[in-house]
Assembly symmetry: C2
Homo-oligomer: 350 residues x 2
Amino acid sequence: MAPNSTPHKKRIAVLSPVAWRSPPRQYGAWETVASNISEGLVSRGWDVTLFATGDSVTKAFLRSVVDKGYEEDSNIDPKVAEYMHISEVFERAAEFDLIHSHYDFMALTYTRLVNTPVLTTIHGFSSPQIMQVYEKYRDGYFVSISNSDRAPGLNYLGTVYNGIDLSLYPLQKSRGEELIFLGRIHPDKGVHLAIEVARQSGCPLLIAGIIQDEAYFREQVEPHLDSQQFRYLGPVDIAGKNELFARARALLHLNTIPERFGLVLAEANAAGVPVIAMDLGSCREVIDDGTTGFLVNNVEQAVQALDRIPEIDRITCRQHVQRCFSIDKMIDGYEAVYDEIFEIESVGRK
Amino acid sequence: MAPNSTPHKKRIAVLSPVAWRSPPRQYGAWETVASNISEGLVSRGWDVTLFATGDSVTKAFLRSVVDKGYEEDSNIDPKVAEYMHISEVFERAAEFDLIHSHYDFMALTYTRLVNTPVLTTIHGFSSPQIMQVYEKYRDGYFVSISNSDRAPGLNYLGTVYNGIDLSLYPLQKSRGEELIFLGRIHPDKGVHLAIEVARQSGCPLLIAGIIQDEAYFREQVEPHLDSQQFRYLGPVDIAGKNELFARARALLHLNTIPERFGLVLAEANAAGVPVIAMDLGSCREVIDDGTTGFLVNNVEQAVQALDRIPEIDRITCRQHVQRCFSIDKMIDGYEAVYDEIFEIESVGRK
């Protein structure tokens, strides 16, 4: 659908993070979602301005004061980039009917200085210390990305699951032989547990993702690497992910803390790849246990689940993502939330 | 003078940093100045609200959302503290006729969202990256703390030298025997040069201040320490400073980068202690060469200057500070700047 072909008139500012480009070249879940929302809204005729890095790619109108992601250019001071980027959208607040922020607690501190309503999608609570900010601004408008990732007392208008662009992850018709791990190399993501499952099952394991915790990689991942059973491929882009999906028997996602959403679960399922996921946080909202993968509680159950992978129908996996985690489905959710906000605001102003 | 005894009616918000308490217990130049301004304004009858840590001590009305300095309590996330603290004053902007910010570039990003004029005292440009923020907000109101520490293109209303509370630093009538270094242990402050001057002159050297650069301390300071000629005393509070001043032959301040103001130069002079300072940045604005100390360009000149210390009259040193760097003098300067802003604003609003 061409931009502006439908009758939406409302002007939406989408505030993406500037750690990475929107959409990111490789890692960058928040930027991925902000990008998917922007493109989805544009395709339905909304008047969308994406506030993101200058090298971002979008069909929306792009506004940027930061040329590149601060994670991609060491000349950029992240603190300067954040303050400049966030304040820019608030200085232009009067140009918009709604600001849709993906910029965590920092953006909240500007919200009371403008008249434009601000919706914040909470992509995760990164530390106990930031909760005081959410507590102060609890009367704002919030969306959670899973029912499990909620803080009490905030004015949630709903949960809107993240949506992915299924065209980027074509169905891989036949099952591969290898186990894959795809995500940040960090204890939270349980790479060490994936290695243990592979070791016990004797299956080869391909590991891909950015190294976020160097010591963890050095101590708990690197010693296992060889050219045979355990291999680390570094970060991968979308093409790299699809190569992995083509070779995958299953995706292992044995997170050690509650998952907030888990984009990679939906991406793997979209490609027809079954997922074995720890039953923590949002995983049971994304994975249909026994149908698109298996929820487990420990390494032993994960090893057992591997035997049942042939029960999973790959086409059903993709259909599940199409139904629940497509961009279209996500935009349906946000349109409903936006309408609710416009309704509340119009009543409030009377 | 008692608070509110004079007819000022204007309401001033002073935004202090929250790295340390205002005034700081030991180190914390920005908090010291913000505190001195607040107390000085109160004593002249201004209606002052100090935005600072909750444990701050002031005769102004204290507003705080951060209990303690983030440098003094590791449970506090500096980023959360800064965003919460800065936004608080801007959310209350309508309660004030002027916001006087000591919070660097971060506070600037809120200034266009409020109607209250904001004056920023620039305590130093900490990195090239922050200049883009000052560039964007160059039409704001700025004060420099020395004529030398200015960036081109900013709307400076004047230089107002930092003022100190002279009652805290009584005149030490007689000259001591030791050389003293007082400041952050950091290459910028030239501790290694002070050590070299002491070594060449054979004088004992007392070193005090927080260790900001651990490697520098370990490699260039610690190896020289003994119980005789070179001693490190750690950070000192005001009583500790006065003990040092009582023992001082001279203060060595051989900074390696341009000094922005140099509070310690005024403090030493207030106590009657001559200063040997590198002729970089503001030092020649604070030290009256040949009268309150000596400006030098290298270690050799500093060693030579030591021989001329007896020429310096200690009472003249104190009188110079009384005349140029007292809180009263500083408040005179800021009152003139405030009046100019109120005049500009009243014209602008017509």
